[in-house]
Structure formats: C-alpha cells, structure tokens
C-alpha cells in the first residue's frame, strides 16, 4: 500500500463525517446519524478497557447510565449550566469507578464479565426504585441546552458534539497506543502473569484503563442525556446497550484505532435501518443477528483486518514467497558456515553462534 493511501483515506473519512449533516435528506436520517455517533463514542470508550487489556466488560452501560443520570440530576437539582453538569458528571463517575474498579479487577476472565453485569443490574434496580431521586420508571426529563433551536439544528449541533468527543477519545487512544503505558496494557492483554514478571504494574494499569474507559463512557452518556432529553432506567442501565458496545468494538476490530468506530457505523446503521424497515415486528432483531453471524463467521478479527487482507490480496504482489525463502536459505547457509568455522577453529576466540537451528 503506498504511503499516501492512509492519510488520504483518513482525510476522505473526516470530510465525509463533517459533511454528513449537509448530505442527509431529512432530519430522521440526521438523528440516526447522531445515534450512530453516540454508539461510536461508547464503543471506542469501551475499547480503552476491552481493547487494550482484553478485559471484556458487559456492564459498561452502568457508566453510560450514571453519566446520563448524573448530568440530568445536576441540571435539575443544582441548576448547573448543562455542559458544566456534563463535565462534573463525568468527574463524579470517575471517582465512583475507583472503588468499583478495585473490586471488579480482583477477578479475571468470566468472573470479571459477571461482576461487570452485576454492577449494571444493581444500578438498574436502584434507579428504578429510588423514584424521588431518579424519577424511577416515570423517567427523568433533562432540559435541552439549546431550547430555542429547531429539531434539525439541535441534531446537527449534537452530531458535531459527539464527533468532537469521539475525536478526543481517538486522540487519547493514539497517544496511549504509542506510550509505555500502552505497551504495558498490551502485555496484560496477552498474558497478565508474564507482564507482571517483567515489572509491569498490572493492577494499577488495569485500573487506569478502566477509569479512562468508564469516564469516556460516562461523557458519552451525559451527552446522550443532553441530546435526547428523556432518560429511563430500562434503556440507560441496559445489558443490551453494554452488549452493543462489545459487539461493535469486536466487529470493527479492537486492536485498531478506528475499529470500534467502524463497528459502530456498521452495527449502528444496520440497527437503525432494520428498525426503520421492520420496526413494527421483531424481525429487525433477526436481521441484526444475521449480520452479526456473517461477521463472526467471515471476519473473526473484525472488519478492519478483513478489509486490510482483501486490499493486500488485490494489491501488488511484491512480497512473494520466494523472497522469504531466499532470506532463510541465506541464514541457514551462514549458520552452517559458522558451525563449520567454529568446529574447525575451537578456541579461536569466536564463540559459536548458536542460532543455527533451522526454523
């Protein structure tokens, strides 16, 4: 792949995203775009934990819901400026997540998944029961930050706000991916015990990744509250929402910067389209399932690695098998020569190479 392809693709992608509100035919598609953008935020936020450390949390809706309710309640009770409430809510979730993370990260694998689910279920029950604080099943009404705007303009602004939040997340991801911290997290993902033996402070790093992930998820939730304006425990603290984050991230490819984003665009658009076409029946769930089945069967590593492999197949075939063989042949010959040399001149000072085994 030539060097200009990647930046060019990035520029086209950015342009398409920024022009999206101008290109859409009506406000309905625009609102679907806002939903997809919010999905992209949550999937990317999830991936700070799930992608970097390999800890699969099915309960990230907990942070989404806390961010959303926190924002709404701060505006309602303290009459804070909406975006100040949003930031403060993210900060509160960050603080709450510290003890939660310390407790949850004592376990690994399937146990961690269960702990993450139980946390969201606890919050669901609490928010339903504590009607005086959360509005319970009646829902919580969040006043709009831009009360005088018409709907399409409202959608447009929030589309850009979600995109800006996403950009911050992607930038954070990019920085972490190149850092010592990122290298440590990837080592944890591959094998926690080995990472520990090499001196990676695994416990602290996992907690840090969890806090980053939770806070970004909460900010996405708070943004959603400001946009949608109406919160219900069943939808905010929903296992399904957490599962969507996992599916989108895995589908796009968790190890790639844009993986969760691509996954969110694919799954989110499909969800919205299926709802539009088959929304009056349960058929939309069937189509969603078929889509996921196809991806899991044919692109197990996600869409981005699959697309990359396809590009390589049609691209120039300059790295042929022959080249690799020649290299290995050379190495074998050199190793053999060195062995001979070492055998002939033992004690000649040059230690035998020892790398002579054939791969």
């Amino acid at each position: 792949m030539p060097g200009w392809v990647r930046p060019a693709a990035l520029a086209v992608g950015v342009a398409l995203v920024l022009l999206f509100p101008e290109l859409v035919p009506n406000a309905y598609v625009l609102s679907a775009g806002v939903i997809v953008a919010s999905y992209a935020c949550t999937a990317t936020a999830w991936s700070f934990m799930g992608g970097f450390t390999g800890y699969v949390s099915l309960g990230h809706a907990a942070f989404f819901g806390m961010g959303a309710y926190g924002t709404g309640i701060l505006i309602r009770d303290l009459s804070l400026q909406p975006f100040l409430a949003w930031l403060l809510s993210g900060l509160i979730v960050l603080v709450i997540t510290i003890p939660v993370g310390i407790a949850a990260l004592r376990v690994r694998g399937a146990s961690f998944v269960i702990v993450s689910i139980s946390f969201v279920l606890i919050l669901l029950l609490v928010s339903q029961a504590w009607e005086a604080f959360t509005g319970g099943a009646n829902g919580l009404n969040v006043p709009r930050p831009f009360a005088d705007l018409y709907r399409p303009d409202h959608h447009r602004i929030f589309f850009y706000l979600f995109v800006a939040l996403l950009a911050v997340m992607l930038l954070t991801w990019w920085v972490i991916d190149r850092s010592r911290f990122g290298a440590g997290l990837k080592a944890v993902r591959e094998d926690e015990d080995k990472a520990e033996a090499l001196g990676v402070p695994t416990r602290d790093y996992k907690l840090a990744a969890y806090l980053i992930s939770a806070t970004f998820t909460a900010l996405a939730g708070g943004m959603y509250a400001l946009w949608f304006g109406d919160l219900d425990p069943i939808f905010q603290f929903s296992i399904l929402l957490g599962a969507y984050m996992v599916l989108m991230a895995l589908l796009g490819g968790v190890r790639h910067l844009f993986g969760p984003l691509v996954g969110a665009v694919v799954v989110g658009s499909a969800l919205e389209y299926f709802k539009l076409e088959f929304g009056d029946t349960q058929l939309h769930l069937v189509f969603t399932a078929i889509l996921l089945g196809i991806v899991v069967l044919f692109m197990p590593d996600g869409v981005i690695p699959a697309a990359g492999a396809l590009l390589r197949r049609f691209g120039p075939q300059d790295t042929s098998i022959r080249e690799i063989t020649a290299e290995e042949l050379l190495e074998r010959n050199r190793a053999a020569a060195e062995r001979e040399g070492a055998a002939a001149g033992r004690g000649g000072g040059k230690p035998s190479d020892g790398s002579g085994e054939t791969p």
């Binding site: 010592r180 290298a183 440590g184 990837k186 080592a187 591959e190 094998d191 015990d193 080995k194 990472a195 520990e196 033996a197 090499l198 001196g199 990676v200 402070p201 190495e331 230690p351 035998s352 190479d353 020892g354 790398s355 002579g356 085994e357 054939t358 791969p359």
Partner: protein
C-alpha cells in the same frame, strides 16, 4: 576461565548474588511447598535445581522473583535483604525471571518483546545500549527484530526470552525449564546459550526436568525434594554420584556406565 570453574573447586569464596535462606512458601491454604529451603547463587555461576515433579523447583524461582511472597525466611540480593518485595522491586534489584514454557508475547514483535524486558528502565540511552548488547549475544533477535514473536521457532523464541531477561542487565537470571517443548538439538543450543549468558557476566539459577543435561551445563547443582535442598555441590560431582543418579536422574551416571 569458565571451564575451570566448571568443577566448582577453583572458585574463591565470593559473596553470593542471591541467597534464599530457610524459606517457607506455599499457595493459598494448601500445605507449604517450600519447607526450609536454602540456596545460594555465586557470581558468574550457573546453579541448577533438579528434583522430581512437585518438589517445588518453580516455586523457588517465584519466591526469588517476587511473584510469590515467602511465609518465612529471607531473600537476599547482593547483600541486601529484599524479602517480601514485589516483581518490580525484584527486577530493580537485579533479578530477571524467564517463566516456564513459551513466554514470549506471540502477538507482539520481537522488538516489543525485548523492550518489555526493559520496562523498569527509563534511560533511553541505556536501553539502546542493552539492545545492542542482546542483539550481539543473540544474533537471531536482531535479524527477526520486526517480526511477530509468535512466528519464530521454539528455539528462537527462547532466545528472545533470554534477550528480554538480559535487558535490565540482571545480576541473576532465573530460568524455569528452558528446554521445555524443544527438540534435542535445539535444547543443546539453549544450554549452550545459558553458558554464554554466564560468560557474559550473569549468574543463572536454572530449574530443569532435563536434569542430566542441565547438570552437565551447570557449575553447581542442588537436589530438591519435598520442599528443601537435600544435596548440593559441584554439578560434576552430583552427576557422578551413583546413588543420586538412580534416585533422581533416572538411571546410572553416563560417564561411569
């Protein structure tokens, strides 16, 4: 020089780099695995622990590298007591642990693997220096620098692990079953490399199932059984011991047979 030390008799009494003194350790509520274990690793020496399965060989290394805290006893590195410290402090005091089995990060490049070995270092110039050193000691590591470690052969992966452990310029390298899963020829190469690590100035505490082969490489040997050292001495003497051979090494000594 190294070959003279092989019999263990010409070595002057130097302060050992690693001492485990009367260590008791175990997992959870289960019975103690180590019961009063003591072992010493002198400078520029390969010390080999042999013994039956379950004798506690790997546990010794885990205690030394801080992965397992001892219940009783002391761990002393180069004169300073480091008992009860975690893996990071142990690395800083100069103990590097190469875990059992294939312990490279398969989905990372050789470069990323080796650099993870320097995780506790922060000085970039120092890291570059160590990279040059390990690439010279293990040429294959330099040749495969940008490749995924999982694509290398078993013996090559072992070299990556050795290189990774040498990044911190450790006083003692702890090797857990380096020959595991390798064919005889590659095993021979691996043992040769252990000798090279020693000659390059690093002491080695080695745990091996492949006991006879390991003792042939080692300078000193310790026979472990039921959580403590039963017999220790120059490796060559242990190899020659008739009774020991029958009890622990599976058969008669090779040289006298």
């Amino acid at each position: 020089m190294a070959s003279e030390e092989k019999d263990g008799t010409t070595r002057p009494a130097e302060r050992p780099l690693l001492v485990l003194d009367d260590v008791y350790a175990g997992y959870g509520r289960a019975a103690m695995v180590l019961r009063g274990l003591s072992v010493k690793v002198p400078p520029r020496t390969v010390v080999c622990l042999v013994g039956p399965n379950g004798a506690g060989k790997s546990t010794v290394l885990k205690v030394a590298s801080g992965l397992l805290r001892p219940r009783e006893g002391r761990v002393v590195v180069d004169g300073s007591d480091v008992t009860g410290q975690g893996p990071q402090q142990m690395l800083r005091s100069g103990l590097a642990h190469v875990l059992q089995g294939h312990s490279v990060f398969r989905e990372m490049t050789v470069e990323e693997n080796v650099l993870l070995g320097a995780y506790t270092l922060r000085d970039r110039a120092r890291i570059a220096e160590r990279v040059a050193f390990v690439q010279e000691l293990f040429p294959i590591v330099g040749e495969r620098w940008k490749q995924l470690a999982g694509l290398l052969s078993g013996g090559q992966q072992k070299q990556v692990e050795f290189a990774r452990s040498l990044m911190i310029d450790p006083k003692v390298v702890l090797l857990d079953e380096p020959s595991m899963g390798l064919d005889p020829k590659t095993t021979a190469t691996v043992f040769q490399q252990i000798t090279r690590m020693r000659d390059a100035g690093t002491a080695v505490l080695l745990v091996e199932q492949n006991a006879r082969r390991a003792l042939e490489t080692a300078d000193l040997g310790c026979v472990l059984d039921l959580g403590r050292v039963h017999i220790s001495g120059p490796a060559a003497e242990l190899l020659a011991d008739q009774r020991l051979s029958e009890l622990y090494l599976g058969g008669r000594p090779r040289s006298t047979a």
